[in-house]
Symmetry: C2
Subunit: 413 residues, 2 copies
């Protein structure tokens, strides 16, 4: 249904879901390209994602200082504000959609870009279908973002690589620290990833500089506590130290999360939200081996560490936003920008469009063939896949010895 | 007791205690200067600190690749290996000292440099006094290192500034993340510091770029849970979010650590070593306010984050080691290198010598006048003190998108 006429009207960019180190690089790709496009009359940032549309809280991008907007390339978290609002199915309840249409008409919005993960692509898809159904001409695009790297179809997701680089860097550093004493130690590092183990697998990249983890556990494999303890004990006895990377989402064969399992009724902190998996596993290791133990949870740090972002990721994230605007102007709609990559003669990334219908609500997991037979490591195929994504370092602007991130005026329309 | 004759003989450099991002920069200052000194015949690295001397495990620095040694400037953790061995009082048991003397004689060691914190300065001091007592001419120097910043006399300690820069950078980034949603959140970041709050106070530096914490709690002030909860609730109601930095060592008025206090008998993880203070406080806040909460423990990350080291700290750490060797050759002994700094017309750091007698086993805490009257923040005087120390960024060598740290051959004598 490509209409090659360049629609004349305003554009909205919104951000949704958990932030990343480069989500603003994508937003900047949209904002810059839209501000420069003749057919786009106004560029608005939705304050807190779709909530900003529903509440008529639109930020005027033309009123921002271009130099501050450019800092978005290196600024973590969602500069326009995020939300976790799950929009209803329009067949069940179209209240929100009527309101969105009202706002779109009020500002003559003809371009809508939504920057987020799985749920955001679903929101985007529903809006796209609704606008088509009611005959309101508006080009709707998903601009992907998720450190979880679980969007279907695309080679990888903007945001993943920077989190991966931070995790691998931290593992390299912690590896130096946890092997330093004459007395042994077992160190367990917990990475994000409820259902997909991409981020935890990224710890493996540290092996390319000789400082990798000894064991890696992903949610793609059922967790077996006895096997885990035996693995750790064997390595600890052999090397006098053991470094483990584990996904927050590891679960037993019955599907129950290890982080949520009751431990003989004495667990006063059994709230999954608080994490605590690393501390819990460390405790189990201590009980089994008597080793000195450390549990480290990377927590929010891994998704906002812009100071350790991948230059490749920043560039690809920016290009995702740019590509979305260019494709929308060219007449495309109902799509998400994705990557098709080749690694055979160096790394090449091509920007392609996926139907939102086909990406929304699917989860892409680490292929089982990239996990070793023991279920406690990932293979060289994973390293070959992931290593190109973390190449290049960010070039932050510093002020007072600290990152100087974008300061937006946030002027409402 | 200055003897200006340049002693001819070997030098030993040992590292002890918890690692830092720049402890190897100090060691490199010693190693490089010693390798270049005519009167120093051999340069040995003690493998795992004083244990390496006791076990006759000395690493030959002449056999290392100079380019790898230079990477020590940017390599975290103790490259020679560390230990936590507490040496006996020689008046009580001189077994270790006799053994050290035996090794010193075996290798004609006339220079001994010990790179560590409080306990290491104590070890250094005892060795210095013992050698003087038995009439073995050997120049003994402390080269300070501690992220805790608690060594007495010196303006600040090598290692502190890099940890401070990492903490402030992480706070800036987390601050962006935890304010991003339309729904509120309380985030609690736990920093190292059992008795002194320097590292936690460093979170305040984030305010200089507009992204600081709302509340700061140090061990220098007795912790009051009711006051803490009231502080958080007030700010959460006002701003819809609250970011707290807290020292692992905060304690109640009776001296008991908050991290170790029993919580109505249901705490199965009450091991202080595992930290968990942040999760514990987050849980208390959730019970009081109903807010979404996050507890983040910076753990080992803060002491090994070489990728975020302060260039000022690296330079000063290197110079500490260099100064120690130069002063030892010039005839000084029984000293620790320290800093005397002025901040009136720009920041200036002068390298001075302190008697080991006077620094060993004292702890320097955050001055009470730098803590606000409420006991929940630090003042601008602290910022003025600390800000110059975190200036400048490290220039890491990268390989495969990750830090390329020193790889020593570790060849034993």
């Amino acid at each position: 249904m490509t209409n090659t006429k360049a629609l004349v009207g305003a554009a909205i960019i919104g951000q949704s879901g958990g932030p990343s180190a480069v989500i603003n690089a994508s937003a900047y790709g949209v904002i810059k390209t839209a501000l420069e496009a003749d057919c786009i009359t106004n560029v608005y940032g939705a304050h807190h994602g779709i909530m900003g549309v529903l509440n008529d809280q639109l930020l005027v991008m033309e009123k921002e200082d271009p130099a501050e907007l450019e800092l978005l390339l290196h600024t973590p978290s969602s500069a326009l504000g995020s939300c976790r609002y799950k929009i209803a199915d329009p067949e069940v309840d179209d209240t929100d959609y009527k309101r969105i249409l009202e706002i779109f008409k009020k500002y003559n919005v003809r371009y809508f870009f939504y920057n987020g993960g799985n749920d955001s692509m679903d929101t985007c898809n529903k809006i796209s279908r609704y606008m088509a159904k009611v005959g309101y001409e508006c080009r709707v695009f998903g601009v992907p973002k998720t450190i979880d790297n679980d969007l279907y179809g695309t080679d990888h997701c903007p945001g993943f690589a920077s989190a991966a680089k931070y995790i691998a860097t931290s593992i390299v550093e912690v590896s130096r620290d946890c092997h330093v004493y004459d007395k042994g130690m077992v160190t367990i590092v917990e990475c994000m990833g409820r259902h997909a183990g991409w981020l935890t697998a990224a710890a493996k990249l540290a092996c390319t500089v000789g400082d990798g983890p000894d064991l890696i556990y992903l949610p793609e494999v059922d967790f077996d506590m006895d096997k885990f303890l035996a693995d750790v004990e064997r390595i600890y006895k052999e090397k006098n130290s053991c470094l483990v990377a584990v996904s927050e989402g590891v679960h037993y064969a019955d599907g129950s999360f290890v982080s949520e399992a009751k431990t003989s009724g004495t667990d006063g902190f059994g709230h999954a939200q608080l994490g605590g998996l690393a501390a819990r596993l460390a405790e189990a290791v201590k009980a089994r081996t008597g080793a000195k133990v450390r549990g480290i949870e990377l927590s929010l740090l891994q998704r906002c560490a812009a100071h350790c972002a991948s230059a490749t990721d920043i560039q690809e994230s920016f290009n995702s936003g740019k590509t979305a605007v260019e494709a929308a102007i060219a007449g495309e709609t109902g799509k998400m920008v994705g990557f098709r990559c080749s690694r055979d003669n160096g790394y090449h990334c091509e920007y392609v469009l996926f139907d939102l219908d086909k990406v929304a609500n699917f989860e892409q997991k680490v292929p089982v063939e990239w996990i070793n037979a023991e279920g406690n490591d990932v293979t060289e195929d994973f390293v070959r896949y992931c290593a190109p994504l973390i190449q290049g370092e960010t070039e932050l602007k510093y002020e007072n010895g600290l990152p100087r991130f974008a300061r937006l005026k946030k002027i409402f329309a």
